[in-house]
Subunit: 215 residues, 4 copies
DNA sequence: CATGAATGAGGGTTCATTCAT
DNA sequence: GATGAATGAACCCTCATTCAT
């Protein structure tokens, strides 16, 4: 199709780059399609043929990008994990007391869990994964728990959060946040932003030392 | 074999009753085994042969009690539903203001969601069900949501709960409660009772008009 | 149910006879039900449970009367065969020339093939049978063919039937007669008698030396 | 592999065509094998594994060509139906009086019913089919009946056929013709052509206004 | 005789995956 | 890279039949 190399780019490696980029784009498209279908229909009820069909390619073409269905899922979890890492890092590195950081983390979490990859990480059964991948996912999940607990503890320590059981408080918050994935609709009225702000407020007001001013 | 009717035998139907009871017991054992495996391994990764194996019978014996795998799952959802109905009815019929009832409902919900059947209802993907069964489950789930919202609204009306968005508050509470199913272990330190009390307190303190006294 | 032996019959064997008769009646009822279902639904699509259901007994009770499903079918073929034997014997033993006998045979055949057992013999696939039974059935079928051919030959010999290929003529006649089973309905307008008379006439008029008078 | 386009190669689509043709040939081979086995052994007694075995492929390879066993059967009926349509259309469009056409139709019918697909249509139980396919088959069968009756009526009208009940006459003829499928052997002495001629004569001589000259 | 329970054989179908162009 | 074909592993389910009472 590309009969001539782009004349503005003299480099002979460009075609390679271009090709590689095209390949990466296809790979991403594949992952986006897969994650949507896995979320919409469930991992087991989504044959690879349906993924391919939605991409207008053949089932076998998928194997140029991934070695197995499980590998696709593992990659989705990895991408989800990346979302978490980014959001969590940002929230943790914020300035402010424990409560402020916690609220920021909640906002970040809402953004993550309303994103396809983040939602996949939160909702798809990780028992589908190979042992290795599953262990990594479990470790990551525990890590995210720990972050919540750490911020809560920090908040208690700095006086911004009322004394409470950090473990239980974290469970409550994370549970409520994960619950969003059960009913969130991208085409609904509640945007991730609004939800994030709302949940950041509501999920912490019970724990905050000072009640936020009521509207 | 029993050539003469034993006059002390209170009823000739006894054998029938006995056999029927045995059948029911087996049926229940089947359901208990199935729900455990479905929760432990996932519905799709649990062939009926494994269920049978754990019961020390052949796979085909299962078909004496259920017509299909999906029918087993549907029955599990039904039993889960029953748990909900019972707990919800009890909580709603309690005396007290909205907040009190809400707390009771939370305690009931924790008991339900830590029970195998209740947990199945909360966690297993209802898309596995036939259309008919799935519709019933969805309706039930919406009903449970409504109950939460109604109690919250009632609490706001009677002044026991601070003004808030009942829908969002219900999502927070239900999400946190469903989250329990993700980490609850029957052999763990936290009993459903303790969890119920704790969650009833923590999940409502942000909404309560008067803060509960801190320990 | 029968608390006392029939007082009019002093014989102690009568109960046995009675019981035996009851048994035979049940057996016949079973066969009648089976043949109806086999004809209506097809042998393979008729599980024994359906036969039992229509008889208001359990599937297992059937095994008190027959050792296997195939044995039931074999018995149905045997009963069908009896119908044939009777009808054929009567027709053959009639007085008259070949054509007259042939017409009588056709009438008899129509009666047979509109009877459940006769229809079963004609229509149900005899490959379902055990080797032994199937061989017997095949032999019988050949025998019936032979009878037709013999009568045709006799008719040709005695001048009542025009010279023709007896084999082919027999195929035509038998084929047309068996075809009745494909569309005959017991509750339809055409009774076996009428059909018999009509077919006896139409199927032979091409072969008759003298045309039957037209109405 | 072919590094340079062979300029003599008439078309780059040839490989595609070739592959498509190969696929079609395999598909047809599959159908031929299936119809033979279904006729020889019966539909229910022919597992797909046997069809595959005779084709020297695995059972699963069949699913590249058909979605289910029933779909194979439906296709066989469709092919059978095509045979009928072709033969019937040709016979109907012939010049000549009703009797001539009827005789031609009989010849066509014999050709059809001695062909594997036509025989399948005539003999295999259409209750195996899905509702949709079965309804289509039943409609086609009624249509073929009608054609016979119409020709007979036409023959009566134009004086080539003696007055008779067209419905009954059609039943006789069709029954006799379908009966051929019960005993016809492709390796036998009687070719479809001979049979067709013979049956066209014998099945109509009873109805013809003028008797065919006897040999 | 009759019943409920259990079993084993067998077949259709799905689907991920490998093979050969 | 991409494709069609083929394969093998499972799994659900039907149904005749045997077992134990």
């Amino acid at each position: 199709m590309r009969s001539q190399p782009d004349t503005l780019d003299p480099s002979p490696w460009m075609p390679f780059e271009t090709r590689k980029r095209a390949r990466d784009e296809k790979r991403v498209a594949l992952l986006r399609t897969a994650v949507r279908l896995f979320l919409e229909e469930g991992y087991h009820r989504t044959p690879l043929s349906k993924v391919a069909e939605r991409l207008n390619i053949t089932k076998m073409a998928l194997y140029n990008y991934f070695g197995s269905k499980e590998e696709i899922l593992a990659e989705l979890f990895r991408l989800g994990s990346e979302q978490y890492e980014a959001g969590f890092t940002a929230a943790e590195s914020m300035k402010g007391d424990g409560l402020t950081k916690l609220r920021q983390l909640i906002r970040a979490y809402v953004a993550i869990v309303t994103d396809d990859f983040g939602m996949c990480f939160a909702r798809i059964d990780d028992r589908e994964l190979s042992d290795e991948a599953r262990i990594a996912v479990r470790r990551a999940k525990r890590c995210y728990d720990s972050t919540f607990r750490a911020l809560i503890r920090a908040g208690i320590a700095d006086g911004s959060i009322r004394p409470c059981d950090p473990k239980l408080a974290a469970f409550v918050i994370i549970g409520a946040l994960n619950g969003i994935a059960d009913w969130y609709r991208a085409d609904g009225a509640l945007s991730p932003d609004i939800l994030g702000t709302e949940f950041a407020l509501r999920l912490t007001e019970g724990y905050a030392m000072q009640r936020p001013e009521q509207p």
